[in-house]
């Protein structure tokens, strides 16, 4: 059909071969009239043909325009971040917040140590009362699950107006019958209670069966077991009384410092607010004035102008509060020294070891942290004395604190910090999980499909994988949040799997969950590119290898894969680029905890929640005021993503091109 069509067109064109410099639109008129010598554009060196060409060229140029626009606008919004952030950090220093944070850091360390000691204490007690604890937990879990199941019908009875009409009594009877039915059903499927004796279980079930619908108090066994547990805790805490009082002494040792910090906090926040509102007023005055000069209605203009005059602020007095703050320096130093003396004395009173392994672990952690804590307290006076509110905050500080900052704290009452590190680490860890799964699977299946699979198998596997690629990422995120996360947690609490590091997992939404789903997303990318790479290996290689007597497996692994290596590497890199740039899955499934994971957990680190570069943009962009420092920070994150992903892709294409050469 193509040939016929082309002949027809050629015929058509032949008729008009005279008019090749005219526009297609004027052709119809020219059939009768003799062709004009030239078009009026042509005299100036233009023709429709050339115009058309330029039109197409400009469309091709559009891609460059878009790319440039992306870069320009990211930079336009993003570059304002660093001066803005610098100003925020300056306010942080001038207002004295930084000064307070020196002491606050030590107070937080003190609180953490207290918490560690406390946890060790309770771990010891609960460990010893483990049996009673299990029993009471099992009984109440069974009771809770039962109550949940009967709740709907029970609520109906409780809510029914207790009127004395006949209709009402009849209905109440129906409701009660429904309740009985539901209760029998609920009693059929009850949670296991391995730590209760058979008799106790029977007693509990009987009490549930005979429980009136209106009963509010817990069944007797549940209360008894809870009391038993409390008694066991009481008994087991007796030998630890000395330890308890040590902890209490330690806890109260920080009280004075805490109170001092509280006082200082109030004064510096007030100063900060003053500084900020002066900044805002100044900005407002300008916007009001400019709005006034733009306003068309004279009355409106007057109103805005008078508002602007009212907004005129005096320069806030920051010297007085800062001097007051500086006068507290000796006081602060004294409190630090007192805390240090107390802490140094207390370490010797803490028991060397406890009986429970959990408790010992926590105790050891506290002991290890102790010298660091003391050293910090030692260093504090020097830091306090050296601190000056007049120190300059150079722009490089803002940049450095963005790139290496460990905190991304926004929208808070105290001070906003924009540190990229927790987000970058989160993105990277998710990518690691995804690639560790996707590389072997993607490449393995590419090798299988390309080298071993029969044609029919190929016809089955390829469309399925291609279809996985078409699944929108938000659907995978949905599956992750509704199904996979929950399933993973249920698996993680199984007793037979407790040897796995990180199990049982604390959060169902974590690095591993997100990584698994992203692996599923990147497998098709890696698969199809790796398969292409294998396909592109000249068939002569394989033939030569087999002719030399190599087996199929040998040919595949010794000849084909090395030959396709660059392409496979490119596939992995492009998969990596896709994983880093993916948004919806990580937004929904990564858990959104902005913190560098605790690497001391070993492989269990991968079961902690995290936040990502892409996720933070998606989560926060819609809600920040335009033009604020926070808004600009998100664009800087975007620039970072842009650069990283382009870098990865450029490397990948470098490998692809090497294959082509």
């Amino acid at each position: 059909m193509g040939i016929v069509g082309s002949f027809r067109d050629a015929h058509f064109l032949a008729k008009h071969r005279q008019s090749n410099s005219t526009s297609p639109g004027t052709m119809a008129h020219e059939e009768s009239s003799p062709p004009k010598p030239s078009h009026r554009f042509q005299r100036k060196g233009f023709s429709y043909e050339r115009l058309i060409k330029y039109f197409f060229a400009s469309n091709a140029g559009l891609t460059i325009v878009i790319l440039v626009l992306i870069m320009v606008f990211l930079l336009k919004e993003g570059l304002g971040f660093f001066p803005g952030y610098r100003r925020e950090l300056e306010t942080y220093r001038i207002a004295g917040l930084e000064f307070v944070d020196i002491s606050r850091k030590n107070l937080t360390a003190h609180e953490q140590l207290t918490s560690l000691l406390n946890r060790a204490y309770f771990a010891e007690i609960n460990g010893k009362s483990n049996r009673e604890m299990r029993r009471t937990q099992e009984a109440s879990a069974l009771f809770n699950a039962f109550s949940d199941r009967i709740a709907p019908t029970r609520d109906l009875i409780l809510n029914n107006p207790q009127g004395e009409t006949d209709a009402n009594t009849g209905m109440l009877a129906t409701l009660r019958a429904n309740f009985e039915k539901q209760r029998e059903k609920a009693l059929e499927k009850l949670l296991p209670t391995p730590h209760l004796t058979a008799g106790e279980r029977r007693q509990l079930i009987d009490s549930l069966r005979n429980r009136p619908a209106e009963a509010a108090e817990d069944p007797p066994l549940v209360t008894t077991l809870a009391a038993e547990f409390a008694a066991a805790q009481q008994k087991n805490s007796e030998p630890l009384q000395a330890y308890r009082s040590t902890i209490d002494t330690f806890e109260s040792a920080g009280a004075d410092l805490g109170a001092a910090i509280m006082e200082m906090t109030e004064s510096v926040t007030a100063t900060k607010e003053k500084l900020q509102s002066a900044d805002i007023l100044e900005k407002d005055r300008k916007t009001l004035l400019s709005a006034a000069s733009n306003a068309k209605d004279p009355a409106e203009r007057e109103k805005l102008r008078s508002e602007a005059e009212a907004a005129l602020a005096e320069k806030p007095d920051i010297d007085t509060p800062i001097q007051a703050l500086l006068e507290r320096r000796p006081d602060c130093i004294r409190l630090h020294q007192e805390l240090k003396t107390a802490a140094a004395g207390i370490i010797s009173q803490i028991p060397q070891s406890l009986t429970e392994s959990d408790a010992n672990r926590l105790l050891k952690a506290a002991r290890n942290a102790w010298p660091v804590f003391l050293a910090d307290l030692d260093a504090a006076p020097q830091k306090i004395n050296r601190w000056k509110h007049t120190d300059m905050v150079p722009l490089s500080d803002a940049i450095l604190s963005f790139l290496t900052g460990k905190d991304w704290v926004t929208g808070g009452e105290w001070q906003d910090f924009y540190g990229i590190l927790p987000l970058a680490v989160g993105s990277l860890m998710i990518a690691i999980v995804a690639l560790v799964i996707a590389i072997p699977v993607g490449i393995g299946s590419a090798i299988y499909v390309n080298q071993f699979a029969a044609r029919r198998e190929q016809a089955l596997v390829k469309p399925v994988i291609e279809f996985i690629q078409a699944i929108p990422s938000v659907v995978l995120g949905f599956v992750g949040i509704l199904v996979f996360g929950t399933v993973l947690r249920e698996i993680s609490v199984m007793d037979s799997l407790q040897w796995v590091p990180g199990f049982p997992i604390e959060e169902r939404l974590n690095i591993f969950t997100a990584g698994c789903l992203l692996a599923l997303m990147s497998i098709p990318t890696i698969f199809s590119l790796a398969e292409d790479a294998l396909n592109n290996v000249p068939s002569a290689y394989a033939e030569a290898s087999e002719a030399l007597g190599a087996s199929h497996v040998q040919t595949t692994f010794r000849v084909m894969i090395p030959a396709a290596f660059s392409g496979i590497l490119a596939a992995i890199l492009l998969g990596f680029g896709r994983v880093i740039g993916e948004t919806m899955v990580v937004l929904l499934v990564a858990g959104n905890r902005i913190k560098i994971p605790d690497f001391s957990a070993g492989l269990g680190t991968f079961f902690q929640p995290t936040h990502t570069l892409t996720g933070i943009i998606a989560q926060e962009l819609g809600e920040v005021p335009l033009g604020s420092v926070h808004y600009r920070a998100l664009f800087v994150v975007g620039i970072l993503l842009f650069v990283v992903v382009l870098g990865i892709n450029a490397t990948a294409h470098h490998f692809v091109n090497r294959v082509k050469k």
């Binding site: 771990a123 609960n126 407002d284 916007t287 905190d407 809600e623 005021p625």
Partner: protein, 266 residues
């Protein structure tokens, strides 16, 4: 060249199109449940011609939208800040405040937690990260998972003021998109704790804690430690639809819905 002219033409057309919708933006606490139901009831009450658009991303989003005119009514679970008010003024929008209901922030834990009550000091210590394990306050041993709202939320800031003495959330906290998501995660995590508006405190699988001996129920609104007002903000010059809607909310029929959804009527 032609490309640009095409864009321009369509752009010119765009700005001439008039919007006949009533667009509400802001707080998730209000916008995820209460306002949609108010809107549905409002339409059912004979205002079928009014078309609603409701975006509930957080209180912070309300004011820029009001200033730009992309929303006619802003929902906020906190009072407007001075700089936000001035910002609106510069665009010729003079905000008027409409308190529509009271809310109580209830602390929720997993249903299977043995705890039933906490003191205000304990709540503060948990949310600032000083207490890390449930056993420290008499619960079943387990590391506490803190679920908070995201940073644009009015509730996030209210909670920091009301319950945490202005201190920062610990970095171990998980930031959730809305009240429902907090409730859902707490229902699925036996070591979870979070705070939600009163309307969300009855989510199955969770239970609301008694704070300092005061149960978070409507009758205790005056005694409860973490109570607050919720507002709608609108320009002083209202469109007819917006005015009718605000009047409806303040009417007994509207306030009945407020109560039914779980907030406390004025």
């Amino acid at each position: 060249m032609k490309a640009i002219s095409t864009l321009l033409t369509s752009a010119a057309l765009i700005s001439m199109a008039g919007a006949q919708t009533l667009s509400l933006k802001g707080s998730d606490t209000l916008g995820a449940k209460l306002v949609p139901q108010l809107a549905e009831a409002f339409r059912a009450a004979g205002n079928n011609g009014v078309k609603f658009e409701i975006a509930a991303e957080g209180s912070t989003t309300a004011f820029p939208a009001l200033a730009n005119g992309t929303a006619q009514i802003g929902m906020s679970s906190r009072k407007v800040k001075d700089d936000e008010r001035t910002f609106c003024k510069t665009k010729g929008v003079y905000l008027k405040e409409h308190p529509i209901c009271h809310d109580m922030l209830s602390v929720i834990v997993n249903k299977n937690s043995p705890l039933n009550s906490l003191t205000k000091a304990q709540v503060s210590k948990i949310f600032t990260g000083q207490i890390k394990d449930w056993s420290e306050i008499g619960g079943a041993p387990g590391k506490i998972s803190i679920y908070t709202r995201n940073t644009s939320s009015g509730t996030y800031k209210d909670w920091q003021k009301l319950a945490m003495g202005g201190r920062d959330y610990p970095s171990s906290s998980l930031k959730m998109a809305g009240n429902e998501q907090i409730a859902q995660e707490v229902a699925k995590n036996k070591n979870g704790i979070g705070y939600v508006g009163l309307a969300y405190s009855k989510t199955p699988g969770t239970k609301a804690l008694v704070i300092d001996g005061v149960e978070p129920v409507a009758a205790n609104a005056k005694k409860y430690a973490f109570a607050r007002l919720c507002y709608l903000y609108a320009p002083d010059k209202l469109t007819a639809e917006a005015d009718a809607f605000l009047t409806f909310i303040k009417s007994p029929a509207g306030q009945a819905i407020v109560q039914k959804v779980g907030f406390i009527p004025n």
